[in-house]
Amino acid sequence: MYSEKVMDHFNNPRNTGDMENPDGIGHVGNPVCGDIMELYIKVKDDIITDAKFKTFGCGAAIATSSMVTEMVKGKSLADALKISNKAVAEALGGLPAIKMHCSVLAEEALSSAIDDYLKKNPTRNTDALRKLHKTPHHEETE
């Protein structure tokens, strides 16, 4: 049911575990099935230098969290906020339709981590980024 890429990220998830002194923490729950995802980021000069996650959820949830932490590393906050759940799913070679909601969780965990960072670090950029953050762009189905 899952692509090879999904199974690879599921079986060897990248960037799992706690992070010491993260600059931003995202914590989201999946309203559909009740799963929980936490995402931690380190930020320097508006660039995400490191990301880690912890997930209580299905194979797709673990694989999308793993993928999203890979995708954000090295990205500016603005670019990171543009990552949609669809992009994460595509990077994984697609997800079964019924599992798209798990990738939404990954997208939301990321934006919640960035949000947390922005709250703790109000800069001149904040307003523009906040706006970007508020724009919902995820899609539930392919």
């Binding site: 199974m7 912890k54 798990c102």
Partner: protein, 390 residues
């Protein structure tokens, strides 16, 4: 990779003896049992022989066996057939909260058609209290349907006690015995049932064939209309190879029921105690003793079931889960919720169901691998903050 199949409650491999018995009925003795020439009569004889074998397994008379396309049809037939046939008598049906979807969805459908359905709760082990059945009966009650044993948690219900209550009240009593027939003793008279569902592929027979036992005199509207097959109770040309296979499977199952039961109970309890001892924060679901000999259902805290099953599949172990994530509807198992589990506990449930070809080495392999998988997943679970992994 050597695969370890531990999902016998989902389906069993067809026994090679059963396959052998079926083969002649595809090409050689292929006739339509309704035909009067020899091809037809050969098929007809095979059909009746199979009927006798199934009847003997459950202590029924031959003519009380109706072949269906499977357990789901047998359940639908029992529920809807009894509901329609007894409309004048009443419109109330009693069932339990942990029935198979084939019963629950049939009840839901009947509910929409105007019938009143009572869903009895179960205790923390999944047991229906016979007293609650008694109390639920009204003068409008036309059917009671309680499964013999639950497919997810393996709990065996006090069917003969409920049977007595139904008989006293003069109400039809149906039991879904898909998980029990051929696995533990099933005798329709001892159980006191009027209707009983069976499925071929759960007892080493083929898929696509099942049985509805119908006690003589039970009022039931036919499920399929058409030709006069099965004494006019179930139209459609009989699935002769499938039925022959089911007959053969029933005969084989009856041969070493007690020995196989004891063997499986040994393996089951080894697996249960092994997991619970080796892994912290794991709990058995279902009844410790009133339990199918082959059923292990465990909740593992802090991890999700689908991810455990996927990890096991990677190393060749096939098991299932009641987690919302792995159900098509994204809802947690109704059985686990009915026995009082929290959503997150249902999330971490695992079911292993053992069978004829399960060996002690396989059980040991699972006991060696599963704790590692759980440790790996717990290490990345946000719920284990204050717990050492594993």
């Amino acid at each position: 990779m050597q695969r370890i199949y531990l999902d016998y409650a989902a389906t069993t491999p067809t026994d090679p003896n059963v396959v052998q018995a079926m083969l002649p009925y595809f090409h050689d003795a292929f006739g339509n049992p309704s035909a009067i020439y020899s091809y037809g009569q050969e098929a007809k004889n095979a059909l009746e022989e199979a009927r006798g074998k199934v009847a003997r397994l459950i202590g029924a008379r031959d003519e009380e066996i109706i072949f269906t396309s499977g357990g789901t049809e047998a359940d639908n037939f029992a529920l809807k057939g009894a509901a329609y046939a007894n409309q004048k008598k009443g419109n109330h049906i009693i069932t339990s909260a942990i029935e198979h979807h084939a019963v629950l969805e049939s009840c839901k459908f009947l509910g929409k058609m105007g019938y009143k359905i009572t869903y009895l709760p179960v205790d923390k082990y999944g047991l229906v209290d016979p007293d609650s059945v008694k109390k639920a009966i009204t003068d409008k009650t036309i059917l009671i349907s309680v499964m013999h044993a639950n497919n997810e948690i393996g709990t065996i219900q006090p069917i003969s006690e409920i049977g007595k209550i139904a008989k006293e009240a003069g109400i039809l009593f149906h039991s879904d015995a898909v998980q029990t027939a051929g696995h533990i003793p099933v005798n329709v008279n001892e159980l006191g049932v009027d209707l009983l569902s069976m499925s071929g592929h759960k007892l080493y027979g083929p898929k696509g064939v099942g049985v509805l036992y119908t006690r003589k005199g039970s009022k039931l509207t036919p499920f399929m209309h058409g030709g006069g097959q099965e004494r006019g109770r179930r139209a459609s040309t009989e699935n002769v190879p499938g039925i022959v296979g089911l007959g053969q499977a029933a005969e084989l199952a009856g041969q070493d029921l007690e020995g196989e039961t004891q063997r499986l109970i040994g393996l089951r309890d080894k697996l249960i105690s092994g997991i619970v001892q080796k892994v912290d924060r794991t709990h058995l679901n279902g009844h410790p003793v009133k339990r199918l000999p082959n059923n292990v259902n465990i909740s593992v805290e802090f991890v999700e079931g689908e991810s455990m099953c996927l990890n096991m599949d990677i190393v060749g172990i096939c098991a299932s889960t009641g987690s919302a994530c792995s159900s098509g509807s994204l809802e947690a198992s109704h059985v686990l919720l009915a026995i009082g589990l929290e959503h997150v506990q249902a999330h971490g449930s695992l079911r292993f169901t053992l069978g004829k070809w399960t060996t002690e080495e396989e059980v040991e392999k699972v006991l060696e691998i599963l704790p590692r998988i759980i440790g790996k997943l717990r290490a990345m679970s946000p719920l284990t903050k204050n717990l050492s992994p594993g």
